[in-house]
Symmetry: C2
């Protein structure tokens, strides 16, 4: 027995093919009784409509294309998880389209792939979501899309973003509350708007706590572990009195780099130096000591993005909500009170005792 077609269902349910089609597509002008009968047959035959035929006839492919840059495996996978789940429920499939955001031929590649795949819509992840050229391309080609964490928060109809700025402010306040007055900051890659925005939150936090912004405590990183190492060197290889007592890195990888440099200098963490990151990637809890960081609900955000896109595709009215997702501060072992509060000795002794 081969795969059942719509004709088989129609025959067994003794209705026309068109009626089966209506049932599949949730058209409301079908009598409940008829619908029931058809559904029973569909289940009995384990019938699934052919995506090809649907695509050819209607003009939908039931395919969503996910544009992502391969720089962060964890980020990509998390987004994917959220998107696939939502799309699957709506009988859409997800196509992968890896890109290199630095490639000069990016737009051509994307264009070609769009034409080839005939995807109904596109979800764009950072840092691709920041690119104006890409946005322009999609708009020009009239392809429905939703962006995740784009640079500007305008037209939220087509974007989902996180409260990076707010959460960074909260984290900074937290550190200040522990007595830190010299809080270093490692800025993220300026190409990644969302990450770069975190710097704003840091400044907000300082301001709220009445701390002055010290330019010597701020260094520019590029999101990689290596750049974290480099930045940490700049911050830490200075006279002790000028050293920051806490370093806030814009992402966990750079924070890991900071940890490595601190270890190399023989600094105890968190007794001599507090280190905090952002993202809560698995790495954060797999370094020693485990990083205090900020968690973004990436799968939830991605699911939300998919939901928005599907609504757009179905032409459903716009629901002005769910565009911002909230982050959570994750307190682990890499931060503590400022050594200047004189609490350090006690803390260290406690550690010794329990180890």
């Amino acid at each position: 027995m081969s795969i059942a077609t719509i004709r088989d269902v129609a025959a067994q349910a003794r209705v026309s093919i068109k009626t089966v089609s209506r049932v599949i597509n949730n058209v409301k002008t079908v009598k409940p009784h008829t619908r029931e009968r058809v559904l029973r047959v569909i289940r009995k035959l384990d019938y699934h409509p052919s995506p090809s035929a649907r695509g050819l006839s209607g003009s939908r492919s039931y395919l969503i294309s996910l544009l992502y840059d391969v720089t962060c495996a964890y980020y990509a996978t998390s987004v994917l998880t959220g998107v696939v789940e939502t799309c699957r429920a709506a009988h859409y499939q997800v196509l992968m389209q890896p890109c290199d955001y630095t490639s000069p031929s990016l737009t051509e590649e994307v264009t070609r792939n769009l034409r080839q795949s005939r995807a109904d819509g596109v979800i764009v992840t950072p840092p691709l979501s920041d690119m104006k050229t890409l946005k322009a391309l999609l708009e020009e080609q009239n392809v429905p899309f939703v962006r995740i964490a784009p640079a500007e928060h305008a037209d939220d109809r087509r974007s989902v973003y996180t409260d990076d700025r707010e959460s960074c402010a909260r984290m900074t306040e937290q550190l200040a509350g522990l007595g830190h007055t010299r809080i270093g900051f490692v800025i993220g890659n300026p190409d990644h708007a969302a990450v770069a925005h975190r710097f704003q939150g840091y400044r907000d936090g300082l301001r709220k706590c009445g701390l002055a912004l010290d330019k010597k405590l701020i260094v520019q990183g590029y999101n990689s572990y290596d750049s974290g190492v480099e930045c940490a060197r700049k911050l830490l290889q200075v006279p002790v009195a000028k050293r920051p007592t806490a370093i806030f890195a814009s992402n966990d990888e750079m924070a890991a780099g900071v940890l490595a440099v601190a270890h190399g200098l023989g600094l105890a963490i968190p007794e001599d130096l507090s280190v905090v990151g952002f993202d809560d990637v698995p790495l954060a809890s797999q370094v020693w000591p485990a990083l205090t960081t900020i968690r973004q609900p990436i799968p939830a955000m991605a699911a939300q993005a998919a939901e928005l896109l599907l609504r757009q595709l179905r032409g459903e009215p716009y629901d002005r909500s769910g565009h911002v997702v909230e982050s959570a501060l994750m307190f682990r072992q890499s931060h503590g009170p400022s050594p200047e509060r004189g609490m350090i000795a006690r803390a260290r002794n406690q550690r010794r005792a329990t180890a």
Copy 2:
């Protein structure tokens, strides 16, 4: 101007639709001259055949389904990269199908998704590739597939695997060569055959170096960071004389757990303890000190898998090669000579000096 169809191409090239189809599908019974003309028009119109129409008419969907378990983001992404690249070149698209290998309804889910998506073939990644039920399902449904790193290396026509056992033996020999005689081993999750196989390599290595297998130095892990922590505790919280001087963990995450415990105990690495991992995930170079480990060329392996699958789909003859990919030992900072060789003091002094 809307999207060009095969009719437009046929009209402009002044040939029949069928001839254009022949050109697209590389049918050889087309005069070179005619083929050239058609190709020119195709390029000029930027024509791409409609996957839906091709799928409906022929019986191929030009879709490859990637079955993966979400446990390891890096692994999944790396495989994806290799697969997408190869498939894209062959004008196939990749569909994502995330699975939970522990789910009792796994086979039903897979079956349903296969029927829904009509994928032409499937690539299965570990640990799913180990599952007999899944293999049986695919065979029964007569779906072309290729498995990556399955448990048994039989029928290599449909699988690609790494030389885990050999590389682990080499790494073990390496450690022995540095004077280590008590080399601990953290076995991987028995559900992941490939990972569990690494234990065999460790034993091979010991044998070659004339070292006895000491059961007290072997613990069972489950691939996670936490299980690495647990295993390290078992290995290290014993009298110093009985401690291993080196620990070989079956993957990097567990190795990171070992590092954390060692740090907690105040052990210097690699002076007091060498730690090595397996996989060379990004984590390996982002912990402190950076892990000596074994790198698998995952994207290459995945590309190879895709290639084998495409060949199967095209009905091409079987080429008995390229099923094994070679790993490389990555020497970084987490290993060194055995402290029992008395080299430790010198090494430590050097470190202090340079820090």
